[in-house]
């Protein structure tokens, strides 16, 4: 352990949080860290809305009859849940919050290449989100988050135009964020920070940004086509004119399948950082993990047809898409093997971020492998549009995406706020969330195998027991999130001061103070070490009296 500076003893240092505290200094801030926090607060509100909608329809599903919601209202609730969670929580979650906060610091830069575009992205996002909320308040949308035609364009009697416009506008904010990421990673790296010295989180963000840039414009124009058909009566997907509703599905999934990689690649980046830190080892197979992110980004663009195995797609096309879907599992499996190899003979400690990372590993394996059932042409005919699909993508999106987000939030919380949360309660909460998640979604695999279709609120009595398990799991999950909200808010005021490097981690973000100063570093850092130098002592080792939980195990 080299020089130690105990920041908790000295008077409060100027940092990005206390430099200016007026409302306009936040709302007009060009500082990527403050914009990251603006995103964090907004996304948590959206997460609350989407989660509340899910709790309501899970309650309805407790009984085989309709007691709480009418069919149309039920449809509106699951549509709100889907649109909010996908467009306004999962897609921006890790990139817009953690990516925004961390990327320039990890690159040793003062800010992103285009700070004004970064701030604009938050306003654009909020405008899109507001339209989405207005669509819900004005009476809701019942098309499902997929807006399938011709239902969405010709028959749906709800606020499709508002919801579509909201998703369209939110897409611009994704593009702005992604563009900033790629330019900044290319042009703003600190001296000595070569590509293979970048943390894997940065590689994951780069791959994510590529998918966003290439995919989002396609869904944007697709939503424009729905818009002109609904608003002006143009007949783009109208079968009566010879238009093809399946063309909509192709265009939609060309973005929306890669969108699951937008949601999962960042989580993989977080998990790489966390596993390396809590195994106290350089990641095994660094380059394999880095390039597999790019491979997932590229191959992910050629698998969209697996959503149309039963929508009149030709058998030859289906065979091709089936093969390519199996193929995209390969780089993911490579990552998985390398993470496990990192754990092997590492000094593993079970701190709360690591528990979420372990949760990711286990749940994502289940989510990924059940994806193979669905990419198999024969089994997909049975599983298509059943609860099996619902369970599969929740294991990937929540078990993968949200667990990754929570791992990252807990890992970098001390850096973002300068405070530590109560570790014991955090560990307990991680276990509650893991149990609640599995109780909610594992029964849904069974429901799907036995033929319960998705998006129905009345069902035969033999499914009731499994639905009761699922709903009680959702309650446990909601309880877990509530405790988390309480202890994180509590920590803002009463948490122990974190110090620069509470986890004894490696990386440029741990070499600046917590919370970081406005320009991230007092002088531009120069990188002389390879990435993840866990064999060498930290430049900013934690104070000796500050015994972190990370040191046992």
């Amino acid at each position: 352990m080299t020089s130690v500076t105990d920041t908790s003893a000295s008077p409060p240092e100027k940092n990005y949080l206390n430099e200016k505290i007026t409302v306009s200094s936040w709302l007009l801030s060009l500082d990527h860290k403050r914009i990251g926090l603006l995103y964090l607060i907004s996304l948590l509100v959206f997460f609350l809305i989407g989660g509340a909608a899910a709790l309501v329809f899970r309650l309805e599903l407790l009984t085989p009859e309709a007691n709480l919601l009418r069919s149309e209202t039920y449809n509106k609730f699951f549509t709100t849940h889907g649109i909010v969670m996908i467009f306004f929580f999962l897609i921006p979650s890790i990139p817009a919050v953690l990516g925004n906060f961390l990327l320039p610091i990890m690159l040793g830069a003062k800010d992103f290449a285009f700070p004004k575009i970064n701030l604009a992205s938050w306003y654009v996002f909020m405008a899109g989100g507001l339209l989405g909320i207005i669509a819900t308040i004005a009476g809701g949308v019942e098309t499902g988050w997929t807006f399938y035609t011709p239902y969405s364009t010709m028959y749906a009697n709800s606020n499709v135009i508002l919801a579509v416009s909201g998703a369209f506008i939110a897409g611009f904010s994704s593009i702005m964020t992604a563009l900033n990421f790629i330019v900044t990673i290319h042009k703003m790296r600190a001296p000595g920070l070569t590509w293979f010295r970048l943390p894997l989180f940065v590689w994951a963000m780069y791959a994510t940004a590529l998918v966003i840039l290439l995919g989002t414009p396609v869904v944007a124009i697709t939503l424009v086509m729905i818009f002109v058909e609904r608003a002006f009566g143009f007949g783009i997907f109208d079968p009566a004119l010879g238009g093809d509703p399946v063309l909509f599905q192709h265009l939609f999934w060309f973005y929306s399948h890669p969108a699951v990689y937008i949601m999962i690649l960042p989580a993989m980046g977080v998990v790489s950082e966390v596993i390396s830190c809590f195994s106290k080892r350089r990641l095994y197979g660094y380059k394999v993990i880095a390039f597999s992110s790019l491979a997932i980004a590229v191959i992910g663009f050629f698998v969209w047809g697996h959503h149309m195995f039963v929508s009149s797609q030709s058998t030859f096309a289906s065979l091709t898409f089936s093969f390519l879907t199996f193929f995209v599992a390969v780089p993911t499996a490579l990552k998985m093997l390398n993470w496990i190899m990192t754990l092997y003979k590492g000094s593993v400690s079970l701190a709360s971020p690591m528990l979420y990372a372990f949760g990711f590993l286990g749940l994502f394996v289940i989510g990924g492998l059940t994806g193979l059932f669905l990419s198999t042409l024969g089994t997909d005919i049975h599983f298509h549009d059943t609860y099996f699909v619902v369970a599969h993508f929740h294991y990937v999106m929540v078990g993968g995406g949200v667990m990754g987000f929570l791992a990252g939030l807990h890992f970098w919380w001390p850096k973002m706020t300068g405070r530590k949360y109560p570790e014991a309660i955090a560990v307990f909460t991680a276990i509650v969330i893991f149990v609640g998640f599995n109780l909610t979604f594992f029964p849904q695999f069974q429901l799907g195998v036995h033929g319960m279709p998705r998006r129905y609120h009345v069902y035969p009595e033999e499914f009731q027991l499994l639905h009761i398990f699922s709903t009680s799991g959702a309650m446990v999950l909601g309880f877990g999130y509530t405790i988390m909200a309480i202890y994180l808010l509590w920590s803002l005021k009463f948490g122990q001061k974190a110090g620069s490097n509470p986890w004894d981690a490696r990386g440029l973000e741990w070499e600046t103070s917590s919370p970081p100063p406005t320009h991230n570093f007092h002088q531009t850092p120069v990188v002389r070490q390879p990435v993840y130098p866990y064999e060498a002592p930290s430049v900013t080792a934690p104070p000796a009296n500050d015994s972190p939980e990370a040191s046992h195990g």
Binding site: T222, G233, F234, G235, A240
Partner: protein
């Protein structure tokens, strides 16, 4: 290092070269997203043209070839004046830069004006017109291919409409650049905004270069 941070160098960049490279990479990435955006429309066009070739032929013949051709020339000349504006800034002639920007604005506006004339001829075909070409409930064409022609016009209006929106945004940016250029903001050391806007303008022109033959010329060979 004394004057290494002139007023036109943003504080978070180390030097002008880094700032210039970032802007250039940024605009090219943005143009890639634009290619994907218009790509969706071109894909739909290709699919339906393959399904209904006769209707596409018929629909194309209903467009005004003269106005379309004039507009193509107007737009290509506007690309020339845009390129000259960038060049003028690079060789330190801010006044010429401003004038060329103004010329580009005028030509772009002329394009939109001619487009408006074309559109209004479709919207108000006259009392005794034998057809109404606006897609929707009022669409009318006495032809066995009328449904396909309606699809063609859905694409015609969506594609040219999206292109026109890009033109309007471009003219807005050019107007802002013009005001700045009159103040002498752009010179040999700092011309990123002009160059980057130029790339966007050329891109919008190129979209038209594809739209013109695909929409106007398929009925005429």
């Amino acid at each position: 290092m004394a004057d290494s941070h002139p007023p036109y160098l943003a504080h978070h960049f180390e030097d002008l070269e880094q700032q210039k490279q970032s802007a250039t990479l940024g605009i090219w990435l943005f143009l890639i997203t634009e290619v994907m955006f218009f790509g969706g429309l071109f894909l739909g066009y290709i699919v339906y043209r393959g399904m209904y070739p006769e209707a596409w032929h018929l629909g194309s013949g209903k467009l005004d070839i003269v106005l379309g051709t004039v507009n193509t020339v107007v737009l290509i000349v506007s690309s020339l004046t845009m390129a000259l504006a960038v060049r003028s800034a690079q060789i330190n002639r801010p006044k010429a830069c401003a004038n060329y920007l103004l010329a580009t604005i005028v030509l772009g506006t002329a394009f939109l004006g001619i487009k408006a004339v074309e559109y209004s001829a479709k919207f108000f075909p006259g009392e005794d017109a034998a057809y109404v070409l606006i897609p929707g409930a009022n669409f009318f064409l006495d032809s066995p291919f009328s449904n396909g022609v309606q699809l063609f016009f859905s694409f015609y209006f969506t594609m040219t409409g999206m292109h026109a929106i890009h033109m309007i945004i471009g003219i807005g940016i050019l107007a802002w650049l013009y005001v700045k250029a009159r103040q002498g903001t752009y010179h040999e050391h700092y011309y990123n905004p002009v160059e980057v806007t130029g790339l966007y303008w050329h891109f919008v022109d190129i979209v038209w270069i594809f739209l013109f033959p695909l929409l106007y010329l398929i009925g005429r060979h």
